[in-house]
Protein backbone atom coordinates (compact mmCIF):
# COMPACT_ATOMS: atom_id res chain seq x y z
CA UNK A 1 0.00 0.00 0.00
CA UNK A 2 1.22 3.47 -0.86
CA UNK A 3 1.58 5.84 2.09
CA UNK A 4 -0.29 9.13 1.59
CA UNK A 5 -0.19 12.48 3.34
CA UNK A 6 -2.04 15.74 3.84
CA UNK A 7 -0.74 19.09 5.10
CA UNK A 8 -2.78 21.59 7.12
CA UNK A 9 -1.40 25.12 7.45
CA UNK A 10 -3.20 27.03 10.20
CA UNK A 11 -3.00 30.81 10.32
CA UNK A 12 -4.88 34.00 9.46
CA UNK A 13 -1.56 35.67 8.63
CA UNK A 14 -1.08 33.37 5.62
CA UNK A 15 -4.60 34.03 4.30
CA UNK A 16 -4.24 37.80 4.68
CA UNK A 17 -1.08 37.66 2.58
CA UNK A 18 1.09 39.02 5.39
CA UNK A 19 3.16 35.84 5.63
CA UNK A 20 4.24 33.68 2.68
CA UNK A 21 3.89 30.00 3.41
CA UNK A 22 7.07 28.06 2.70
CA UNK A 23 6.25 24.99 4.78
CA UNK A 24 4.12 23.23 2.15
CA UNK A 25 6.90 23.08 -0.41
CA UNK A 26 9.51 22.10 2.18
CA UNK A 27 7.41 19.19 3.49
CA UNK A 28 6.34 18.23 -0.06
CA UNK A 29 9.99 17.76 -1.07
CA UNK A 30 10.76 15.72 2.06
CA UNK A 31 7.74 13.46 1.47
CA UNK A 32 8.66 12.98 -2.18
CA UNK A 33 12.09 11.73 -1.10
CA UNK A 34 10.49 9.36 1.40
CA UNK A 35 8.14 7.89 -1.21
CA UNK A 36 5.06 9.27 0.57
CA UNK A 37 2.45 10.78 -1.77
CA UNK A 38 1.24 14.22 -0.70
CA UNK A 39 -2.42 14.28 -1.72
CA UNK A 40 -3.61 17.67 -0.56
CA UNK A 41 -2.59 20.80 1.33
CA UNK A 42 -4.96 23.30 2.89
CA UNK A 43 -4.40 26.73 4.34
CA UNK A 44 -7.12 27.45 6.88
CA UNK A 45 -7.87 30.27 9.32
CA UNK A 46 -7.50 30.32 13.13
CA UNK A 47 -11.12 29.20 13.46
CA UNK A 48 -12.05 26.29 15.72
CA UNK A 49 -14.71 24.50 13.70
CA UNK A 50 -12.69 24.70 10.46
CA UNK A 51 -9.58 23.35 12.21
CA UNK A 52 -11.48 20.50 13.88
CA UNK A 53 -13.32 19.47 10.68
CA UNK A 54 -10.15 19.61 8.58
CA UNK A 55 -8.18 17.50 11.07
CA UNK A 56 -10.96 14.90 11.20
CA UNK A 57 -11.33 14.78 7.39
CA UNK A 58 -7.57 14.51 6.78
CA UNK A 59 -6.70 12.00 9.51
CA UNK A 60 -9.51 9.76 8.31
CA UNK A 61 -8.29 9.89 4.74
CA UNK A 62 -4.48 9.95 4.68
CA UNK A 63 -1.74 7.80 6.21
CA UNK A 64 0.01 10.82 7.74
CA UNK A 65 -1.22 14.33 8.42
CA UNK A 66 1.03 17.27 9.27
CA UNK A 67 -0.26 20.49 10.78
CA UNK A 68 1.79 23.67 11.08
CA UNK A 69 0.98 26.67 13.23
CA UNK A 70 -1.05 27.77 16.21
CA UNK A 71 0.81 26.08 19.09
CA UNK A 72 2.45 29.15 20.64
CA UNK A 73 1.65 30.91 23.92
CA UNK A 74 -0.86 33.55 22.76
CA UNK A 75 -4.65 33.75 22.59
CA UNK A 76 -4.67 33.18 18.81
CA UNK A 77 -2.88 29.84 19.22
CA UNK A 78 -5.85 27.49 19.32
CA UNK A 79 -4.55 24.44 17.46
CA UNK A 80 -4.03 22.25 20.54
CA UNK A 81 -7.53 22.69 21.94
CA UNK A 82 -8.91 21.91 18.46
CA UNK A 83 -6.77 18.77 18.13
CA UNK A 84 -8.05 17.56 21.51
CA UNK A 85 -11.65 18.10 20.39
CA UNK A 86 -11.04 16.45 17.00
CA UNK A 87 -9.77 13.28 18.73
CA UNK A 88 -12.12 13.51 21.69
CA UNK A 89 -9.26 13.84 24.16
CA UNK A 90 -8.66 15.97 27.23
CA UNK A 91 -5.85 18.49 27.69
CA UNK A 92 -3.18 18.21 30.38
CA UNK A 93 0.08 19.86 31.31
CA UNK A 94 2.80 17.39 30.37
CA UNK A 95 5.59 16.98 32.96
CA UNK A 96 8.32 16.25 30.41
CA UNK A 97 7.31 19.26 28.29
CA UNK A 98 7.39 21.40 31.46
CA UNK A 99 10.85 20.07 32.31
CA UNK A 100 12.18 20.92 28.82
CA UNK A 101 10.67 24.39 28.83
CA UNK A 102 11.94 25.16 32.36
CA UNK A 103 15.43 24.10 31.30
CA UNK A 104 15.16 26.22 28.17
CA UNK A 105 14.29 29.39 30.08
CA UNK A 106 16.64 28.74 33.03
CA UNK A 107 19.42 31.27 33.28
CA UNK A 108 17.82 33.57 30.71
CA UNK A 109 16.04 36.80 31.53
CA UNK A 110 12.84 35.35 30.11
CA UNK A 111 10.28 34.38 32.74
CA UNK A 112 8.63 30.95 32.41
CA UNK A 113 5.21 32.41 33.09
CA UNK A 114 1.68 31.07 32.76
CA UNK A 115 1.38 31.95 29.05
CA UNK A 116 4.61 30.13 28.23
CA UNK A 117 3.49 27.15 30.33
CA UNK A 118 0.55 26.87 27.91
CA UNK A 119 3.09 25.38 25.48
CA UNK A 120 3.40 22.34 27.77
CA UNK A 121 -0.31 21.59 27.47
CA UNK A 122 -1.02 18.72 25.06
CA UNK A 123 -3.90 16.30 24.40
CA UNK A 124 -4.08 13.03 26.33
CA UNK A 125 -2.76 10.05 24.34
CA UNK A 126 -0.32 12.20 22.44
CA UNK A 127 3.46 11.76 22.22
CA UNK A 128 5.86 14.70 22.34
CA UNK A 129 7.84 15.72 19.27
CA UNK A 130 11.31 17.12 20.02
CA UNK A 131 11.95 20.75 19.23
CA UNK A 132 15.72 21.20 18.94
CA UNK A 133 15.30 24.90 18.17
CA UNK A 134 13.15 26.46 20.87
CA UNK A 135 12.28 23.57 23.25
CA UNK A 136 8.46 23.91 23.18
CA UNK A 137 7.51 20.49 21.84
CA UNK A 138 5.12 19.49 19.10
CA UNK A 139 3.26 16.24 19.49
CA UNK A 140 1.89 13.27 17.63
CA UNK A 141 -1.59 11.90 18.17
CA UNK A 142 -2.55 8.87 16.10
CA UNK A 143 -1.56 9.78 12.52
CA UNK A 144 -1.46 13.55 13.10
CA UNK A 145 1.86 15.35 13.65
CA UNK A 146 1.41 18.80 15.17
CA UNK A 147 4.26 21.20 14.35
CA UNK A 148 5.03 24.85 14.99
CA UNK A 149 4.46 27.24 12.09
CA UNK A 150 7.80 29.06 12.16
CA UNK A 151 9.78 27.33 9.37
CA UNK A 152 13.09 26.87 11.25
CA UNK A 153 11.28 25.31 14.19
CA UNK A 154 9.12 23.16 11.93
CA UNK A 155 12.21 21.83 10.10
CA UNK A 156 13.70 20.67 13.38
CA UNK A 157 10.47 19.03 14.48
CA UNK A 158 10.00 17.27 11.13
CA UNK A 159 13.51 15.86 11.24
CA UNK A 160 12.78 14.60 14.79
CA UNK A 161 9.96 12.38 13.53
CA UNK A 162 11.59 11.10 10.32
CA UNK A 163 12.04 7.60 11.72
CA UNK A 164 8.32 7.37 12.49
CA UNK A 165 7.39 7.68 8.80
CA UNK A 166 7.29 4.61 6.60
CA UNK A 167 7.52 5.52 2.95
CA UNK A 168 6.44 3.39 0.07
CA UNK A 169 8.56 2.61 -2.93
CA UNK A 170 10.00 5.93 -3.97
CA UNK A 171 8.69 7.09 -7.33
CA UNK A 172 11.57 7.32 -9.76
CA UNK A 173 11.49 10.25 -12.13
CA UNK A 174 13.05 11.50 -15.32
CA UNK A 175 12.67 14.81 -17.10
CA UNK A 176 12.76 15.28 -20.85
CA UNK A 177 13.67 18.88 -21.44
CA UNK A 178 12.90 20.14 -24.94
CA UNK A 179 12.63 23.26 -27.06
CA UNK A 180 9.24 22.34 -28.53
CA UNK A 181 6.04 24.03 -27.44
CA UNK A 182 3.63 22.22 -25.16
CA UNK A 183 0.89 22.46 -27.77
CA UNK A 184 3.00 20.76 -30.43
CA UNK A 185 3.73 17.64 -28.43
CA UNK A 186 0.43 17.42 -26.52
CA UNK A 187 -1.26 14.79 -28.69
CA UNK A 188 1.75 12.46 -28.76
CA UNK A 189 2.20 12.71 -24.99
CA UNK A 190 -1.32 11.49 -24.49
CA UNK A 191 -0.57 8.48 -26.70
CA UNK A 192 2.59 7.69 -24.74
CA UNK A 193 0.79 7.89 -21.42
CA UNK A 194 -1.72 5.40 -22.80
CA UNK A 195 1.08 3.10 -24.02
CA UNK A 196 2.91 3.16 -20.66
CA UNK A 197 0.11 2.62 -18.15
CA UNK A 198 2.57 2.58 -15.22
CA UNK A 199 4.22 5.92 -16.06
CA UNK A 200 2.65 9.22 -15.03
CA UNK A 201 3.51 12.08 -17.37
CA UNK A 202 3.26 15.79 -16.57
CA UNK A 203 3.97 18.57 -19.01
CA UNK A 204 5.32 21.96 -17.90
CA UNK A 205 5.97 24.81 -20.31
CA UNK A 206 8.89 27.13 -19.61
CA UNK A 207 9.69 30.57 -20.90
CA UNK A 208 12.98 32.39 -20.72
CA UNK A 209 14.34 35.36 -22.63
CA UNK A 210 14.81 34.30 -26.23
CA UNK A 211 13.47 30.78 -25.89
CA UNK A 212 10.61 28.63 -24.74
CA UNK A 213 9.92 24.95 -24.53
CA UNK A 214 8.47 22.15 -22.46
CA UNK A 215 9.80 20.07 -19.61
CA UNK A 216 8.12 16.70 -19.56
CA UNK A 217 8.30 14.97 -16.20
CA UNK A 218 7.83 11.19 -16.05
CA UNK A 219 7.25 9.28 -12.83
CA UNK A 220 7.06 5.58 -12.22
CA UNK A 221 8.03 2.88 -9.76
CA UNK A 222 9.46 0.93 -12.68
CA UNK A 223 12.86 2.09 -13.95
CA UNK A 224 12.63 0.23 -17.28
CA UNK A 225 9.23 1.63 -18.29
CA UNK A 226 10.43 5.06 -17.21
CA UNK A 227 13.49 4.90 -19.46
CA UNK A 228 11.52 3.51 -22.41
CA UNK A 229 8.83 6.18 -22.12
CA UNK A 230 11.45 8.93 -21.87
CA UNK A 231 13.17 7.61 -24.99
CA UNK A 232 9.85 7.44 -26.85
CA UNK A 233 9.21 11.08 -25.97
CA UNK A 234 12.69 12.14 -27.06
CA UNK A 235 12.13 10.34 -30.38
CA UNK A 236 8.91 12.30 -30.94
CA UNK A 237 10.60 15.59 -30.11
CA UNK A 238 13.29 14.90 -32.72
CA UNK A 239 10.67 13.84 -35.30
CA UNK A 240 8.92 17.16 -34.66
CA UNK A 241 12.16 18.93 -35.58
CA UNK A 242 13.05 19.84 -32.00
CA UNK A 243 15.89 19.14 -29.61
CA UNK A 244 15.62 17.33 -26.32
CA UNK A 245 17.62 15.75 -23.52
CA UNK A 246 16.77 13.18 -20.84
CA UNK A 247 17.72 13.98 -17.25
CA UNK A 248 17.37 11.92 -14.09
CA UNK A 249 15.11 13.41 -11.46
CA UNK A 250 12.34 15.94 -11.66
CA UNK A 251 13.95 19.06 -10.33
CA UNK A 252 15.99 19.77 -13.42
CA UNK A 253 16.23 23.34 -14.48
CA UNK A 254 19.04 22.82 -16.96
CA UNK A 255 17.52 23.62 -20.33
CA UNK A 256 20.80 23.98 -22.16
CA UNK A 257 19.98 21.71 -25.07
Amino acid sequence: MVATAGIIIIGDEILSGRTKDTNINWIACKLDHLGIRLKEARIIPDKSDTIIKTIQAFTGQYTYVFSCGGIGPTHDDITTECVAKAFNQKLYKDAEAMRRLKLHYEGTNVEFNEARQKMAIVPTNSKLIDNPVSAAPGYRIENLFVFAGVPKIMWGMFDSILTELTGGKKLKSKTVSSNVGEGLIAKDLEKIENDFFNVKIGSYPYFKPGSFGTSIVLKSEDEISLQKAAEAILEIIIKLGGKGKIFDGNEIDDRSL
Copy 2:
Protein backbone atom coordinates in the same frame (compact mmCIF):
# COMPACT_ATOMS: atom_id res chain seq x y z
CA MET B 1 -22.12 41.69 3.91
CA VAL B 2 -18.43 40.90 3.79
CA ALA B 3 -17.21 39.40 0.51
CA THR B 4 -15.28 36.16 1.01
CA ALA B 5 -13.02 34.11 -1.24
CA GLY B 6 -11.41 30.71 -1.69
CA ILE B 7 -8.40 29.73 -3.81
CA ILE B 8 -7.96 26.35 -5.50
CA ILE B 9 -4.49 25.49 -6.82
CA ILE B 10 -4.64 22.51 -9.16
CA GLY B 11 -1.49 20.56 -9.97
CA ASP B 12 0.47 17.41 -9.11
CA GLU B 13 3.70 19.35 -9.62
CA ILE B 14 2.97 21.51 -6.57
CA LEU B 15 2.19 18.49 -4.37
CA SER B 16 5.34 16.64 -5.46
CA GLY B 17 7.39 19.67 -4.42
CA ARG B 18 8.72 20.24 -7.95
CA THR B 19 7.05 23.63 -8.27
CA LYS B 20 6.69 26.19 -5.47
CA ASP B 21 3.29 27.81 -5.44
CA THR B 22 3.48 31.60 -5.39
CA ASN B 23 -0.07 32.27 -6.60
CA ILE B 24 -1.75 31.92 -3.20
CA ASN B 25 0.25 34.72 -1.60
CA TRP B 26 -0.06 36.96 -4.66
CA ILE B 27 -3.86 36.61 -4.78
CA ALA B 28 -4.10 36.86 -0.96
CA CYS B 29 -2.39 40.27 -1.04
CA LYS B 30 -4.63 41.49 -3.87
CA LEU B 31 -7.77 40.38 -2.03
CA ASP B 32 -6.61 42.00 1.19
CA HIS B 33 -6.30 45.32 -0.65
CA LEU B 34 -9.77 44.88 -2.12
CA GLY B 35 -11.34 44.21 1.28
CA ILE B 36 -12.24 40.63 0.32
CA ARG B 37 -11.59 38.05 3.05
CA LEU B 38 -9.67 34.99 1.86
CA LYS B 39 -11.11 32.13 3.90
CA GLU B 40 -9.26 29.09 2.61
CA ALA B 41 -6.76 27.91 0.01
CA ARG B 42 -6.34 24.33 -1.15
CA ILE B 43 -3.70 22.66 -3.26
CA ILE B 44 -5.21 19.62 -4.94
CA PRO B 45 -3.99 17.04 -7.47
CA ASP B 46 -4.92 16.68 -11.16
CA LYS B 47 -7.71 14.28 -10.20
CA SER B 48 -11.23 14.74 -11.56
CA ASP B 49 -13.38 13.88 -8.57
CA THR B 50 -11.26 15.95 -6.17
CA ILE B 51 -11.37 18.96 -8.53
CA ILE B 52 -15.14 18.69 -9.04
CA LYS B 53 -15.91 18.28 -5.32
CA THR B 54 -13.62 21.14 -4.32
CA ILE B 55 -15.15 23.50 -6.91
CA GLN B 56 -18.66 22.65 -5.75
CA ALA B 57 -17.80 23.02 -2.06
CA PHE B 58 -16.00 26.36 -2.56
CA THR B 59 -18.45 28.00 -4.97
CA GLY B 60 -21.31 27.12 -2.63
CA GLN B 61 -19.52 28.64 0.33
CA TYR B 62 -17.58 31.74 -0.77
CA THR B 63 -18.47 34.93 -2.68
CA TYR B 64 -15.61 34.45 -5.14
CA VAL B 65 -13.54 31.40 -6.00
CA PHE B 66 -10.28 31.49 -7.96
CA SER B 67 -8.73 28.41 -9.52
CA CYS B 68 -5.21 28.29 -10.95
CA GLY B 69 -3.80 25.62 -13.23
CA GLY B 70 -4.79 22.85 -15.60
CA ILE B 71 -6.14 24.82 -18.58
CA GLY B 72 -3.30 24.22 -21.04
CA PRO B 73 -3.24 22.05 -24.17
CA THR B 74 -1.95 18.73 -22.77
CA HIS B 75 -3.60 15.54 -21.50
CA ASP B 76 -2.92 16.47 -17.85
CA ASP B 77 -4.91 19.72 -18.21
CA ILE B 78 -8.31 18.55 -17.00
CA THR B 79 -9.61 21.60 -15.15
CA THR B 80 -12.09 22.72 -17.83
CA GLU B 81 -13.84 19.37 -18.16
CA CYS B 82 -14.11 19.25 -14.35
CA VAL B 83 -15.54 22.79 -14.17
CA ALA B 84 -18.18 21.84 -16.75
CA LYS B 85 -19.15 18.78 -14.69
CA ALA B 86 -19.18 20.76 -11.44
CA PHE B 87 -21.68 23.26 -12.91
CA ASN B 88 -23.54 20.70 -15.02
CA GLN B 89 -22.61 22.45 -18.28
CA LYS B 90 -21.50 21.23 -21.69
CA LEU B 91 -18.19 22.09 -23.38
CA TYR B 92 -17.95 23.99 -26.65
CA LYS B 93 -15.27 25.60 -28.80
CA ASP B 94 -15.70 29.34 -28.34
CA ALA B 95 -15.45 31.41 -31.53
CA GLU B 96 -13.95 34.48 -29.85
CA ALA B 97 -11.34 32.37 -28.06
CA MET B 98 -10.51 30.73 -31.41
CA ARG B 99 -10.13 34.15 -33.03
CA ARG B 100 -7.74 35.34 -30.30
CA LEU B 101 -5.64 32.21 -30.45
CA LYS B 102 -5.47 32.23 -34.27
CA LEU B 103 -4.32 35.86 -34.15
CA HIS B 104 -1.75 35.00 -31.49
CA TYR B 105 -0.16 32.22 -33.55
CA GLU B 106 -0.44 34.01 -36.92
CA GLY B 107 2.92 34.87 -38.41
CA THR B 108 4.80 32.72 -35.89
CA ASN B 109 6.33 29.35 -36.66
CA VAL B 110 3.99 27.75 -34.13
CA GLU B 111 1.15 25.75 -35.66
CA PHE B 112 -2.36 26.34 -34.27
CA ASN B 113 -3.05 22.61 -34.14
CA GLU B 114 -5.77 20.52 -32.53
CA ALA B 115 -4.07 20.39 -29.11
CA ARG B 116 -3.73 24.19 -29.00
CA GLN B 117 -7.36 24.55 -30.12
CA LYS B 118 -8.28 22.70 -26.91
CA MET B 119 -7.53 26.00 -25.15
CA ALA B 120 -10.57 27.56 -26.90
CA ILE B 121 -12.90 24.97 -25.35
CA VAL B 122 -14.86 26.37 -22.41
CA PRO B 123 -18.04 25.45 -20.51
CA THR B 124 -21.40 26.78 -21.73
CA ASN B 125 -22.59 29.82 -19.77
CA SER B 126 -19.07 30.96 -19.08
CA LYS B 127 -17.54 34.33 -19.94
CA LEU B 128 -13.98 34.67 -21.27
CA ILE B 129 -11.24 36.25 -19.15
CA ASP B 130 -8.64 38.19 -21.14
CA ASN B 131 -5.11 36.85 -21.19
CA PRO B 132 -2.81 39.74 -22.13
CA VAL B 133 0.26 37.49 -21.90
CA SER B 134 -0.34 34.42 -24.05
CA ALA B 135 -3.85 34.90 -25.53
CA ALA B 136 -5.43 31.61 -24.38
CA PRO B 137 -8.27 32.92 -22.24
CA GLY B 138 -9.44 31.96 -18.79
CA TYR B 139 -13.13 32.16 -18.06
CA ARG B 140 -15.66 32.99 -15.41
CA ILE B 141 -18.65 30.81 -14.65
CA GLU B 142 -20.98 32.02 -11.90
CA ASN B 143 -18.68 32.93 -8.99
CA LEU B 144 -15.70 30.86 -10.19
CA PHE B 145 -12.77 32.49 -12.01
CA VAL B 146 -10.62 29.97 -13.87
CA PHE B 147 -7.03 31.12 -14.36
CA ALA B 148 -3.84 29.63 -15.80
CA GLY B 149 -1.29 28.33 -13.30
CA VAL B 150 1.81 30.07 -14.68
CA PRO B 151 2.20 33.11 -12.38
CA LYS B 152 2.87 35.74 -15.06
CA ILE B 153 -0.19 34.65 -17.02
CA MET B 154 -2.34 34.44 -13.88
CA TRP B 155 -1.34 37.99 -12.88
CA GLY B 156 -2.56 39.31 -16.23
CA MET B 157 -5.82 37.39 -15.98
CA PHE B 158 -6.46 38.53 -12.42
CA ASP B 159 -5.95 42.16 -13.35
CA SER B 160 -8.41 41.65 -16.25
CA ILE B 161 -11.22 40.77 -13.84
CA LEU B 162 -10.51 43.34 -11.12
CA THR B 163 -13.59 45.42 -12.00
CA GLU B 164 -15.81 42.35 -11.55
CA LEU B 165 -14.89 42.05 -7.86
CA THR B 166 -16.81 44.00 -5.26
CA GLY B 167 -14.83 44.29 -2.06
CA GLY B 168 -16.25 45.07 1.31
CA LYS B 169 -14.95 47.73 3.60
CA LYS B 170 -11.21 47.25 3.62
CA LEU B 171 -9.88 46.10 6.97
CA LYS B 172 -7.55 48.74 8.35
CA SER B 173 -4.50 47.45 10.12
CA LYS B 174 -1.75 48.57 12.42
CA THR B 175 1.31 46.75 13.67
CA VAL B 176 2.86 47.19 17.08
CA SER B 177 6.44 46.05 16.75
CA SER B 178 8.16 45.31 20.06
CA ASN B 179 11.22 43.74 21.61
CA VAL B 180 9.26 41.69 24.17
CA GLY B 181 8.76 37.95 23.81
CA GLU B 182 5.41 36.60 22.72
CA GLY B 183 5.06 34.65 25.95
CA LEU B 184 5.51 37.76 28.08
CA ILE B 185 2.70 39.72 26.51
CA ALA B 186 0.35 36.82 25.75
CA LYS B 187 -1.98 37.25 28.72
CA ASP B 188 -2.39 41.00 28.28
CA LEU B 189 -3.12 40.61 24.57
CA GLU B 190 -5.98 38.31 25.37
CA LYS B 191 -7.42 40.93 27.70
CA ILE B 192 -7.12 43.63 25.06
CA GLU B 193 -8.85 41.50 22.45
CA ASN B 194 -11.69 41.03 24.91
CA ASP B 195 -11.83 44.79 25.60
CA PHE B 196 -11.91 45.70 21.90
CA PHE B 197 -14.48 43.29 20.48
CA ASN B 198 -14.20 44.84 16.98
CA VAL B 199 -10.41 44.52 16.72
CA LYS B 200 -8.77 41.24 15.69
CA ILE B 201 -5.29 40.77 17.14
CA GLY B 202 -2.62 38.41 15.82
CA SER B 203 0.73 37.87 17.46
CA TYR B 204 3.84 36.95 15.44
CA PRO B 205 7.21 36.30 17.03
CA TYR B 206 10.31 37.33 15.09
CA PHE B 207 13.91 36.32 15.45
CA LYS B 208 16.91 38.00 13.99
CA PRO B 209 20.59 37.83 14.84
CA GLY B 210 21.06 39.38 18.25
CA SER B 211 17.43 40.12 18.98
CA PHE B 212 13.93 38.78 19.12
CA GLY B 213 10.51 40.18 19.76
CA THR B 214 6.89 40.17 18.74
CA SER B 215 4.97 41.93 16.00
CA ILE B 216 1.39 42.39 17.04
CA VAL B 217 -0.96 42.93 14.11
CA LEU B 218 -4.32 44.60 14.75
CA LYS B 219 -7.15 44.62 12.21
CA SER B 220 -10.46 46.39 12.32
CA GLU B 221 -12.94 48.25 10.16
CA ASP B 222 -12.96 50.98 12.78
CA GLU B 223 -9.98 53.35 12.77
CA ILE B 224 -10.60 54.73 16.27
CA SER B 225 -10.81 51.34 17.99
CA LEU B 226 -7.74 50.27 16.06
CA GLN B 227 -5.69 53.24 17.29
CA LYS B 228 -6.91 52.86 20.90
CA ALA B 229 -6.13 49.15 20.97
CA ALA B 230 -2.66 49.75 19.50
CA GLU B 231 -1.95 52.41 22.13
CA ALA B 232 -3.15 50.08 24.90
CA ILE B 233 -0.75 47.42 23.67
CA LEU B 234 2.13 49.89 23.46
CA GLU B 235 1.42 50.96 27.04
CA ILE B 236 1.61 47.35 28.22
CA ILE B 237 4.88 46.79 26.38
CA ILE B 238 6.41 49.80 28.12
CA LYS B 239 5.05 48.65 31.51
CA LEU B 240 6.72 45.29 30.88
CA GLY B 241 10.02 47.13 30.45
CA GLY B 242 10.11 46.77 26.67
CA LYS B 243 10.22 49.08 23.70
CA GLY B 244 7.60 49.31 20.99
CA LYS B 245 6.43 51.35 18.05
CA ILE B 246 3.10 51.63 16.22
CA PHE B 247 3.14 51.38 12.42
CA ASP B 248 0.33 51.69 9.91
CA GLY B 249 -0.36 48.58 7.86
CA ASN B 250 0.45 44.94 8.49
CA GLU B 251 3.39 44.35 6.21
CA ILE B 252 5.90 46.16 8.37
CA ASP B 253 9.27 44.59 8.66
CA ASP B 254 10.95 47.58 10.23
CA ARG B 255 11.85 46.50 13.73
CA SER B 256 14.29 49.29 14.42
CA LEU B 257 12.93 50.29 17.81
